[in-house]
Structures are given as structure tokens and as C-alpha cells.
């Protein structure tokens, strides 16, 4: 039904596509660690070669009732509900930063449990709703 030329071109294309998908997959696989924008506290705990002089990002939730703000610094705990890291930060935080919300801290690890951040980013989740609805949901939860 199909011409011989058409078949030939289709199979050539299939070969090129599989080859490039495979090579991209291999590249991504080897880059996997670098693609991660931030590490979770568990990943830091499990990693063997932590460089304490290199900047890195830690992400997770701000643990409830751990946010302490005084004149000098902001202290809180980042948790992924398995492991935690204490964070200390001086500077301004984005509006969406608060307890129980996602956060990404950029800075240096002092040890595996203590992190000094020089930049705080708030991570937004995928939920969008009007404020009235949030109120109703909160009241329902009580």
C-alpha cells in the first residue's frame, strides 16, 4: 500500500527518534542530582558527601509552631515529615512564607541538622481557591 520510499523514510525517522530519546534519557539520568532544584532533609541525611562550603538549597514544609522571629534573625524548622533541619536566616521573607507552607532555603549547611540561609523562597502549592471558601473549609475542619 505504502510506497517503498515512504516506508524507508518512516523507519529512518523511527530509528532517529528512538536514538535521541534514549540519549536524552541517559543524559537526564546522569544529571539527575543536578536537576533537583532543592534537596529534602531526608536526602541530606542520607547523602554521604555533603560539601559544607558549597551553597545548596533545602526544601520542605515550615514545621508548625517552630517559626521564631526576633530582631536579629528568623528561625524555623524545615521538615519533610520524616527528618528535619533547623534553619537560621537574616533578611526579608516573601509574603507567602509562613508556618505549614512550602519553603526553599538557599545557603550553607553548618552540619547535617543546621542550615544558615541567605535567601528564602516560598513554594506555592497547586491549590487555588477564593478566600471565602478557605474560611468555610477551616470551620468545617474544626
Amino acid at each position: 500500500m505504502l510506497q517503498k520510499k515512504v516506508k524507508k523514510r518512516a523507519s529512518l525517522l523511527a530509528v532517529i527518534l528512538t536514538a535521541s530519546v534514549l540519549s536524552i534519557f541517559l543524559i537526564l539520568n546522569s544529571l539527575n542530582k543536578n536537576i533537583l532544584y532543592f534537596k529534602s532533609p531526608t536526602e541530606i541525611k542520607n547523602s554521604q558527601d555533603v560539601d559544607f562550603n558549597k551553597k545548596l538549597r533545602v526544601g520542605g514544609m515550615v514545621k508548625k509552631d517552630t517559626l521564631k522571629i526576633n530582631e536579629e534573625e528568623i528561625k524555623f524548622i524545615i521538615t519533610d515529615f520524616k527528618n528535619e533541619i533547623k534553619v537560621s536566616f537574616r533578611g526579608t521573607v516573601p509574603n507567602l512564607f509562613s508556618e505549614g507552607r512550602g519553603v526553599v532555603a538557599e545557603g550553607k549547611l553548618q552540619d547535617k541538622k543546621f542550615f544558615i540561609a541567605d535567601r528564602i523562597l516560598a513554594k506555592h502549592d497547586e491549590n487555588y481557591m477564593p478566600p471565602e471558601l478557605k474560611k468555610i473549609m477551616k470551620e468545617d475542619a474544626k
Binding site: 515512504v6 523514510r9 518512516a10 525517522l13 532517529i16 527518534l17 535521541s20 530519546v21 536524552i24 537526564l28 539527575n32 536537576i35 533537583l36 532544584y37 532543592f38 534537596k39 529534602s40 526544601g59 521573607v93 516573601p94 509574603n95 507567602l96 512564607f97 526553599v104 535567601r119 528564602i120 523562597l121 516560598a122 513554594k123 506555592h124 502549592d125 497547586e126 491549590n127 487555588y128 481557591m129 477564593p130 478566600p131 471565602e132 471558601l133 478557605k134
Partner: protein
């Protein structure tokens, strides 16, 4: 098999479609914008900056969809050698490029109040930049290589290779930890976006699709005219 594409009657159809879209476009645009900017509620967390999403998300969808269609048409052209498909891909590319850039820029504007930064080299944002680069290369090939047949071949090759980037963009937020949030609208399962915000979003998407169709049809018409009058290179 694809006789519709050869038909020069297509010219008349383009005119009719253009007139039709022109007649409804501005009414719909005003309606969609007023829903997105005035009538829809602010978000419980982000406040009014959620309204940027009504442009950002449809723009990103269109950017992705345009490149996917360019790549699929390039594959069909590569296999079946249908000249008109190249004209179609050439007409889609600038639209896709514009909307991809729009998605990146509106994303940056949204990022400052919500994340606290305009820019982050996370997987989603970086792969979107790669998409914009692919668009740019595709367009520049047609601009710079004067030999028509050669330009077609190289540009289809770029489009087909660039197709691999599309699933990477789509799933980057699920595969890797990124600053960008995962998709709110899921194909299966419940969306995590409230219906009072979903409605204006879909309306804006529809209006932007109409805008794309307008630009595409006008561009396609010029490409056909250019082919018909071979000596005419620029309009």
C-alpha cells in the same frame, strides 16, 4: 490522501473563517478579560496576583501545543513529503514562540510576589527556556537559509528533535523537585483549582486560541500568496 491541503479553494475558506473569527473575537476578549480581571475572586493566599495565571497558563499551553503540532506536521512531511505542511509549520512557529515567551515573562512577574524571586533555574523553567530556544532556531532557519528545500529539511529535523522536550516540560514538576508547583488541572481526577477560577481560565484559553487562529490564518494566507508569486519574497 491529503487532497484538502492541495486544494486552492482553501483560500476562500481562510477568508470566511477570518471574517467569522473577527466578528466574535473582540466581544469574547472583553468578556474573558472582565471575568479574569474583575469578576473572579482573589486567591486565599496570593490575593490578586492570581490573575496573572489567567494569561500565564493558557500561554504556556499554547506554547506547548504549537510546538507539538509543528513536530507532528514535520514528521508527516518527512514521511509523506507534503509541501503544504511546511507552510503550516512556518505559520504556527511565530505564534508559539510569542506565547512561550509570554508564559516565561508572566511567570517571572508572578514569581516575584509569590516565591520571592523573578527567576529560578528549576527544571520546569529551564525546559521552557529550551522550548523558546527551539522555536527561535526553527524561525531563524527559515529566515537565514535562502534555499527553500534545505531550510525545510533542517527545520523539520529541529522540530522533531525538539519534540522530546515536550514531555520533559510536562512532567518536570512530577519527576524532579522544582520550585514550580505541579499542575492544578488534571486529566483524570479532581482539579485543585476552584470552579470560580477555572471558568475564567478556560474562557481566556478559548479567546487566546481564537487569537492564535486569527494570526495563523493571516500568516498562512501570506505564505500561500508568497508561493503563488514566486518572485515576491517579502510582504
Amino acid at each position: 490522501m491529503f487532497s484538502f491541503f492541495y486544494n486552492s479553494n482553501i483560500f476562500i475558506w481562510i477568508e470566511k473563517l477570518l471574517n467569522f473569527i473577527n466578528s466574535i473575537f473582540f466581544v469574547l476578549l472583553v468578556a474573558a478579560l472582565s471575568f479574569a480581571l474583575i469578576f473572579s475572586p482573589p486567591d486565599y493566599l496570593q490575593g490578586d496576583s492570581v490573575r496573572i495565571m489567567y494569561v500565564h497558563v493558557p500561554a504556556a499551553w499554547i506554547g506547548l501545543a504549537s510546538f507539538t503540532s509543528i513536530a507532528i506536521l514535520s514528521i508527516l512531511n518527512f514521511i509523506f513529503k507534503i509541501k503544504n505542511l511546511i507552510l503550516i509549520t512556518k505559520s504556527i512557529a511565530p505564534i508559539g514562540f510569542m506565547f512561550t515567551c509570554l508564559a516565561i515573562i508572566t511567570g517571572a512577574i508572578w514569581g516575584q510576589p509569590t516565591w520571592g524571586t523573578y527567576w529560578a533555574w528549576d527544571a520546569r523553567i529551564t525546559s521552557m527556556v529550551v522550548l523558546a530556544i527551539f522555536y527561535f532556531i526553527f524561525i531563524m532557519i527559515h529566515k537565514l537559509i535562502s534555499e527553500g528545500e534545505k531550510a525545510n529539511r533542517i527545520s523539520s529535523f529541529v522540530a522533531i528533535i525538539g519534540l522530546i522536550n515536550i514531555p520533559i516540560i510536562k512532567f518536570s514538576v512530577n519527576w524532579w523537585s522544582t520550585l514550580h508547583q505541579p499542575a492544578s488541572i488534571k486529566i483524570s481526577g479532581e482539579s485543585s483549582i476552584h470552579s470560580s477560577m477555572l471558568m475564567p481560565l478556560l474562557l481566556m484559553f478559548f479567546v487566546m486560541i481564537l487569537y492564535c487562529a486569527l494570526i495563523f490564518l493571516m500568516k498562512y494566507k501570506t505564505e500561500i500568496i508568497r508561493i503563488k508569486k514566486k518572485n515576491l519574497n517579502r510582504l
